[in-house]
Symmetry: C2
Subunit: 329 residues, 2 copies
DNA sequence: TTGTAGGCGTTATCAC
DNA sequence: GTGATAACGCCTACAA
C-alpha cells in the first residue's frame, strides 16, 4: 500500500496537517519551521510518497484535467489537433483525457456523461449533437466548454474555420480552370461540417453524381466503384474521403480533378491533379486552448466567442502543370 | 451544486445506504422493497442525479480507467492504434486517458508519475525508457502493464512486431531487385525501434549515406536536402520519415527506390517505386488490450508474455512495373 | 509554528 | 429491508 500523509505524520511525529502543508509547497510551506520541514521532506522522499490525486480532487473539487472528445482519433487531422491541444494544456498544468465518439451519437452522449461524472475542469468537444439541449444534457451548466470544428447555436465558445470561405476558395480554384459540373463524395449529412460543405459546393457546381457514407477512406473507394459518369472534378468533404477516392482512381485513363477539404498527404507527388482547402490546425488548437483557459481562470463567463481562423488553398504540381495557362502562379 | 446520495435520501425519507444500494443496481438493489426502490429511482431521475466517480474511486480503489502513453499521437500509426485500443477498452467498460510523451524522457516520466497518482487501473505504454528501473520508477509494482511496440527486458508483457522479420522481408524485397547499397534515414538511435531497424538494415546493405533526426516528416525532407550521393534505395525507419523523404524526392530525375517501415498513405499512386513493411495495427491493438484485461481481471500475475504479431510487405505499382522481370507477381 | 477536527460523496460493515 | 456509521486520503478553517 502506498504511504499516505498519515503515514508520514506518524513517522515524523507530526500531524497530517503539517505534512500536508509542507508537501503542498508554496507559501504555506514557508510557515513551517525549517527543521520539521526538512525532516518531513526527507521522510516523504524515502517512503516514496505520492499524493493521491483522487482524494485531493474530492476535497478540492478540481481535477486539473480537461476532456477532449473527438469524433475519430484515427484521422490524422484530429491526431494533429489532439497533439497540439495536449501540449498546450500540459504547459499550463492540465492533463488531457481523450475520448473518441466514432461519430456515434450514443457513444458521444455516454462519454459526455462519463466526463461530467469524472469531474473534469473543462471540456473541448467536436460534437455530433446539433442542439444545445442534446449536448448539455448531462453536463453541468457552468462547465468551461469549447466546441471545436462544429459550432452549435446557443453555445458560447467555438473554434472553426469559415466553411463558406473554405468552400468558396476551393470552388473558385476549380471554376477558374473550367469546372462546371462535379461528383460529390461526402460524409454523413447529419454531421454539420459535411452537410455545409456539400451544400456550399452544390451552390456553385452542377452535381452529376453523389455518394454519401461514413467519413472514412473506404467510403471514398466505394464511391469510385459506383461512379457511373465523367465529372470534371470530384469533390470530397474531408481528407479521408479524398484519400479513398484518390486511392481508387486508377481505373480512369484521364482522371478528373480531385477537390478536397483538408489535407491529402503527399498530394504533390501524385499525377492526379489535386486541390485542397486546408485549415490551420496549429492555430485552431492554440485558440481553442486559449479560450478554454480563459474560462478556467476567470470564472466569469467571458461573453460568447465564435472564432473562425484563416484557411488556405493548395494545388499540387499535377494540377498546376495541367492548367498552367489558366492559372497564374 | 449537483445532488448527492444524501440529497436523494432526504427527499425520499430514506438513508444514503438505501439510496446507494438502489442506484448501484445489481443484486443488492433486488433486496430493497419495490416501493422504495421505485420512489428512489424516480426522485433520482427527477433531480438529475449523477454519481461522483471521484468519491466512488476513493472508496473502491478502482477508477475503471486505463492509461495510454504514446510517443506521438500526431502520427497516424499511433492514432489508429489509440483508436482501436480505445474502442476495445470501451467495450469492456474501461475508459482511456491518453497522454503524449512526444519522445521526451522528461515528459514521459512526468506522465507516468501523474498516471500513477491518478490511480489508473492499468497502463499501456510506448516507452522511451529502456530499462525496467527507469520505467517503473514512479509506478506501483503490481500495476497491470503492457508495453507496446518497444519491449523492455524484465517487463513481462509486451506487444510488438518482430523487427527482424520486418527488416528481413523489406531487405529481401530490395535485394531481389538488385539493391546492394542504400541511404538510411532513421529516427533517434536512443529509441530502440529505430536503432534496431537501422542496424538490421546495415547488416544487409552497404550504407553509403546516413541521416538521423526526430521521427518527423520534416526530418525526411531535410535528409534529402543533405543527400550527396546516388543510393540504389533509401530506407526509412518509420512512416513519417518515409513521407518526408518521398515528399522531397522530386529533385531526382530517376529517383531511387524507397524502402520504408510502416505504411505510406497512397503509395501506390506514386511514380516513385516504394516498398513498405507493414505492421498489423488492429491485431496489435487487440492483443494488447487482451493482455491488459487478463491482468485486470485475474489479479494473478500471468506469466510473462512477449507477443510478436505477423507482418506483411507491400510494394506499390511503380515498384512492380519497374521490376516486372525480376519479381514474380 | 503546529495540531484537531470536519467534511468532500461513496461504498461497505454492522446492527436492528 | 433498512439505517447508522466508519472509512477512503486529502485539505483547511479554527484553535492552541
Amino acid at each position: 500500500m502506498r504511504p499516505t500523509l498519515q503515514d508520514i505524520a506518524s513517522a515524523t511525529n507530526t500531524s497530517v496537517s503539517t505534512v500536508s502543508r509542507v508537501l503542498s509547497g508554496g507559501t504555506v510551506a514557508q510557515r513551517i519551521s525549517l527543521a520539521t520541514r526538512q525532516k518531513i521532506l526527507q521522510v516523504a522522499k524515502k517512503m516514496g510518497y505520492q499524493p493521491n490525486l483522487i482524494a485531493r480532487s474530492l476535497r478540492t473539487r478540481r481535477t486539473d484535467t480537461v476532456g477532449l472528445l473527438v469524433s475519430d482519433i484515427a484521422n490524422p487531422w484530429f491526431g494533429q489537433m489532439a497533439s497540439r491541444i495536449e501540449q498546450a494544456l500540459h504547459r499550463h498544468g492540465y492533463s488531457l483525457i481523450l475520448c473518441n465518439s466514432g461519430e456515434d451519437e450514443k457513444v458521444e452522449s455516454q462519454y459526455l456523461q462519463l466526463l461530467a461524472q469524472r469531474g473534469i475542469d473543462g471540456l473541448i468537444v467536436v460534437p455530433l449533437a446539433r442542439t444545445r439541449e442534446a449536448l448539455m444534457e448531462h453536463l453541468p451548466e457552468n462547465l468551461p466548454l469549447v466546441l471545436l470544428d462544429r459550432p452549435i447555436p446557443g453555445i458560447a465558445h467555438s473554434i472553426a474555420s469559415d466553411q463558406r470561405q473554405l468552400a468558396g476558395q476551393l470552388c473558385d480554384t476549380l471554376w477558374q480552370v473550367g469546372v462546371r459540373q462535379v461528383a460529390l463524395v461526402c460524409g454523413p449529412h447529419h454531421i454539420v461540417t459535411h452537410q455545409t460543405r456539400a451544400s456550399l459546393v452544390a451552390e456553385r457546381f452542377k452535381v452529376i453524381f453523389r455518394y454519401e457514407g461514413p467519413a472514412q477512406i473506404e467510403t471514398g473507394r466505394q464511391a469510385m466503384v459506383q461512379l457511373n459518369c465523367r465529372p470534371q472534378a470530384i469533390i470530397c468533404t474531408n481528407n479521408f474521403l479524398g484519400q479513398g477516392v484518390i486511392d481508387a482512381i486508377d481505373r480512369f485513363d484521364k482522371p478528373p480533378i480531385i477537390g478536397c477539404f483538408d489535407e491529402i498527404p503527399l498530394m504533390h507527388l501524385m499525377t492526379v491533379p489535386v486541390v485542397c482547402s486546408n485549415q490551420d490546425i496549429p492555430l485552431m488548437a492554440e485558440v481553442c486552448v486559449d479560450q478554454l483557459l480563459m474560462q478556467l481562470r476567470g470564472k466569469q463567463a467571458t461573453s460568447g466567442v465564435h472564432t473562425t481562423v484563416p484557411i488556405r488553398v493548395i494545388t499540387n504540381r499535377a494540377f498546376r502543370e495541367q492548367f498552367a495557362s489558366t492559372v497564374e502562379k
